[in-house]
Symmetry: C2
Subunit: 322 residues, 2 copies
Amino acid sequence: MKTIAEYSADVETALRALSFPGGKLASLYQPIEYALSAGGKRIRPVLTLMGADAFGGNASEAMRQALGIEIFHNFTLLHDDVMDKSDVRRGRATVHKKYDENTAILSGDTMLTLATKFVADVPDSKLRMVTDTFNDMALKLYEGQRLDMDFETSEKISLNEYLEMIEGKTGSLLGAAVKIGAIIGGASGKDAQAMYEFGVMTGLAFQIQDDWLDTFGDATTFGKPIGGDIMNGKKTYLYVAAFEEGGKTVEALHTAFNIAPGEMRVKTVTRLYEKLGMSEKCKKAVGHYSAKALKALNSTSLGEEEKEAFRKLAEKLIGRKK
Amino acid sequence: MKTIAEYSADVETALRALSFPGGKLASLYQPIEYALSAGGKRIRPVLTLMGADAFGGNASEAMRQALGIEIFHNFTLLHDDVMDKSDVRRGRATVHKKYDENTAILSGDTMLTLATKFVADVPDSKLRMVTDTFNDMALKLYEGQRLDMDFETSEKISLNEYLEMIEGKTGSLLGAAVKIGAIIGGASGKDAQAMYEFGVMTGLAFQIQDDWLDTFGDATTFGKPIGGDIMNGKKTYLYVAAFEEGGKTVEALHTAFNIAPGEMRVKTVTRLYEKLGMSEKCKKAVGHYSAKALKALNSTSLGEEEKEAFRKLAEKLIGRKK
């Protein structure tokens, strides 16, 4: 197995080597190249390559699928940015800002089909499993995205609903990424499914940790200002879990969220979260899903070296500082 | 072979029998049901069913793919309506009007993946050909859509560019619809490709005829007010062919398109189109592509009854009154 940094560099190189139609069609494909050139850790395609390597295949056999996964991921970001009216991503103008909204919609659609095509570029014997895994994941992701949108206007969300949402929006893609790699590498059906579970559970732990960092993290290492979620009244793990508690402190929390968005609201809500033991509860949940991920990983027939590589990746993702 | 009306009714019945997730996910899937319930001739899925029947298969074996094709078609309409800011389709509010724009984007994305999934629901031995045909068609369609968008702001478009655009936007889907049916029916590679050609050429003839009807048709049978394209300065076959002529009449045409949109502009442009012989040229082109479609059809190993069924469908589509 290579290191995560090496796999990531391989993905980056392969992405840069892609050539898209130019000329008259540049207006369709240039925004796609732009979206794909934003950089990042490329964790999802790395998972695909690692899956192939770990199960006795060769990472290079899974490169098309890894790229398909990364194109899909960036397609979801692109359409999300349109829906959220976000102007900036990774310090650059978003596609609909740099070009226009119609371009973002149409080039996004193109990315989804391109991703599907890249993923389908496997030996025929693996096409059914890979294609089904990919399409089912995509539907789960849209469902998670829809739940997230609906949460914005929901009064009461249960922790289960929150978990269902992040499983769709974050977990399913990590799960499918590694499962597709595993299938290509030659994993048994049971092992491929266990790796899916590993990916999903790692995704849950990652997302809950991200929620924690947004309130209790360190601005310099988190890479974003702390308290953004509280400012926006976002339904995070902390928010949903706190409101499930009930009682007097929760009433105070209600009042705190009615403070105008600003430092005072962030401070007050953070203090109440602490009072309710939410920081601990959140960390516990991260531990819980990390443990589930590792349990799934350990259930596979992988050797110790391979397991260790995936453990490192999960740690890097969940314990991530930026 | 059944009649076109019978195939169409079968599609309608199958569409109505689809059941989508409800409950919390209704906000994602209800707009899809709404979009699919708008009715219409269902020509594209009919082509898929006919393709399967004609080549010795059974239409019912191709129903999932027919539905996939229809879902894909409606996905393109849905996102087109967002991009065009169209409020009405088939006499009903468009999805982004009835719900909202973000719903139209996300439910549209979901339709694309659903369509891909339905189309992939074939025996494994046919998955590769069917999947590749579908994905390649989708990319062609987006490319055609992009060209069409860019034409709005282009000064000069050649007839070749126009034909390329409508081949992508209209022809490729008709071609892929019938080709996928043919593959499922058991057509040889050569026959499947000839049927693709038949679909594409029928699509070109249909689109050019549609351009003609918009200027020279009869409002009561066309179903839309005559002259809409002239009012909007749309780059139709007539427009592009006329400006390719050069000379004095074209200068007059330029002036005519500067008349404020209204009856006077429509009358003046129509008269100039006639003077330039555009009505005839347009009809000739329709005949040309219809003939190409029939030539492709005749080149297949199909029996006379099957050929006749496809001829009827092409006639119905191209000679369509509404």
